[in-house]
Amino acid sequence: MIAPYVLVFLVFVVYPVTYGLWLARHPQSYVTLFDDPVFFRTVVNTIVFLMVAVNVKFALALFLSGFFVHDRAWIRWLSVIFIIPWAVPAIPTIFSIRFMLNPEWGIINSVWFRLTALDGPNWLNDPTLGLTMAMVVHIWKALPFWTLILIAGRLAIPRELYEASSVDGATSWQKFKYVTWPSIRTLYLSSTILSMIWTLGDFNSVYLLTGGGPADLTHVLATLGIRYIRLDQVDQAMATIVVALPFVLPLVYFMMKRLSANE
């Protein structure tokens, strides 16, 4: 009996995708999109966001996973606290960060002013700083999850390999290079690809923090669609999503290939 699966597939995958493509069918939508100066800026922002946020996040996750694998009671407690950003709901937390970063009455600039008697940076009204803060929020929110994944990868490495390498004369760095990294490399790369796919779809970090502003200069592809929907241009919004496909599909392809190769 595969009928229920086919039905689910039709209702939840085939219909919405086809409808989206149908809405995005007009060539004029793409002409308008490419003529929109915000679009080019958004593509650049998206590439920067993917390259910087994902790699910084994974470098940190790799480093932190090496710390959290140590079997000490206080480290276990610390890891519970560390998980919190990932576990809490996105909307209230990102809004509260937005309030904290308010240049006039946010807590960060208040403290800044008290300590230095100078005005703090214009966190969210400067496009570069705004996008940077959106990346910081994204990393802060997603880091615990990827750290957990890499901790699991590290814990799967037999302890004897480290002991054998100790006896063989390896330093800590050489143990990482010859034992840890070869063992978790596949996991690290697969996770990076998956995270890129998810990051492409990360709407919250940018939209809740900067709303795409100032002057639509911090949009990424995930938030640009909403801008058009608010302008009542649904076709335009769908075209934006179709434009993101050349980013997403190769990643999905690589991901599926890796997953099937690991079987």
Binding site: E160, L161, E163, S165, S166, V167, D168, G169, Y178
Partner: protein
């Protein structure tokens, strides 16, 4: 090559003391086996020698140098693990040459050492393979190869044959012993298998509950076990042991008189021990009832009841006896062992 010396070595894990002051001297080139039941502390002692566990108290010295605070990598030892611990992402060649590579040895020297070791261990056809492409026995040999390319001061083996099937275990036992005779490197070998200990060791340290019960040559332990624990642990099938009382040079036990030699005084309560091969079915002697007969070809193992106690008899050749049959057993007095009933110490 070098000697190893343990001086009053103590180990505690939290509040639990697992080693209670171990002292042991291993001479240059000697093959010493640490044997004992699981949890006796033998692996912990080996891992302390390897630098994989801290030393709580006492000192460990290799080649006269105290190594308590010396890193594993600077102790000049090589270790073979029960799980082999081969690096899964390296070929056999790279696994074997890894320690030399870490020491920045020249590639030509590494190649030559690996080639020599591969030849000794019959690993030449497998040098380009990965560990996952090898059988258990081949992995075991790679682990040994990794140890011998180092030419270390001491070889450490931690239950290296436990993951092999019975037949391969016997073959590898012979290989390890032959390797030791060829290289003459000081070796400390941990096992729970007393047959491995008996067949391979120059000297055996029998351990129990964090102490060395007896240290000696294999046949010394077999012929003159210092206490009940060693008597029961060494030898297969195990020694027959039962309670008795000394009476005019013999021991009254299980309702009969067992011949004994040795200096126990009359009326002393003892544990009487006799190995299965030192009891022979005879026309006269201790009456027994056959329970099970296990023919093994060259020898026959008979389990018989004396009183209510099961007694194991190992006789050369074959037996016509069947279950339920009454036989007589003749113990060889010269091979009887007496232990103090209270302390378990040999009398």
């Amino acid at each position: 090559m070098a000697g190893v010396s343990f001086r009053e070595v103590v180990k505690t894990f939290g509040k639990t003391r697992v080693l209670h002051g171990i002292s042991l001297d291993i001479t240059d080139g000697e093959f010493v086996v640490l044997v004992g039941p699981s949890g006796c502390g033998k692996s912990t002692l080996l891992r302390m020698l390897a630098g994989l566990e801290d030393i709580t108290g006492g000192t460990i010295a290799i080649d006269g140098r105290v190594v308590n605070d010396v890193d594993s990598k600077d102790r000049d030892i090589a270790m073979v693990f029960q799980s082999y611990a081969l690096y899964p992402h390296m070929t056999v060649r790279d696994n074997m040459g890894f320690s030399l590579k870490l020491r920045n040895e020249k590639q030509a020297l590494i190649d030559q050492r690996v080639a020599t070791a591969a030849k000794i261990l019959n690993l030449e056809p497998y040098l380009g393979r990965y560990p996952r492409e090898l059988s258990g026995g081949q992995r075991q040999r790679v682990a040994m190869g990794r140890a011998i390319v180092r030419d270390p001061k001491v070889f450490l083996f931690d239950e290296p044959l436990s993951n092999l099937d019975a037949k391969l275990r016997v073959a590898m036992r012979t290989e390890i012993k032959a390797l030791h005779q060829r290289l003459k490197t000081t070796t400390v070998y941990v096992t729970h298998d007393q047959i491995e200990a008996m067949t391979m060791a120059d000297r055996i340290a029998v351990m129990n509950e964090g102490r060395i019960e007896q240290l000696g040559r294999p046949l010394e332990l077999y012929d003159r076990p210092a206490n009940l624990f060693v008597a029961q642990f060494i030898g297969s099938p195990a020694m027959n042991i039962f309670d008795g009382v000394v009476q005019s040079g013999a021991v009254e036990a299980l309702g009969v008189r067992w011949p004994a030699n040795g200096g126990a005084s009359d009326g002393q309560r003892v544990r009487y021990g006799i190995r299965p091969e030192h009891l022979e079915p005879a026309s006269a002697g201790i009456p027994a009832e056959v329970v099970v007969v296990e023919p093994m070809g060259a020898e026959t193992e008979i389990v018989a009841k004396v009183g209510d106690a099961p007694i194991t008899v190992m006789m050369r050749g074959r037996s016509n006896a069947g279950p339920g049959e009454r036989i007589h057993l003749a113990p060889q007095a010269a091979h009887a062992h007496l232990f103090d009933a209270a302390s378990g110490i040999r009398i």
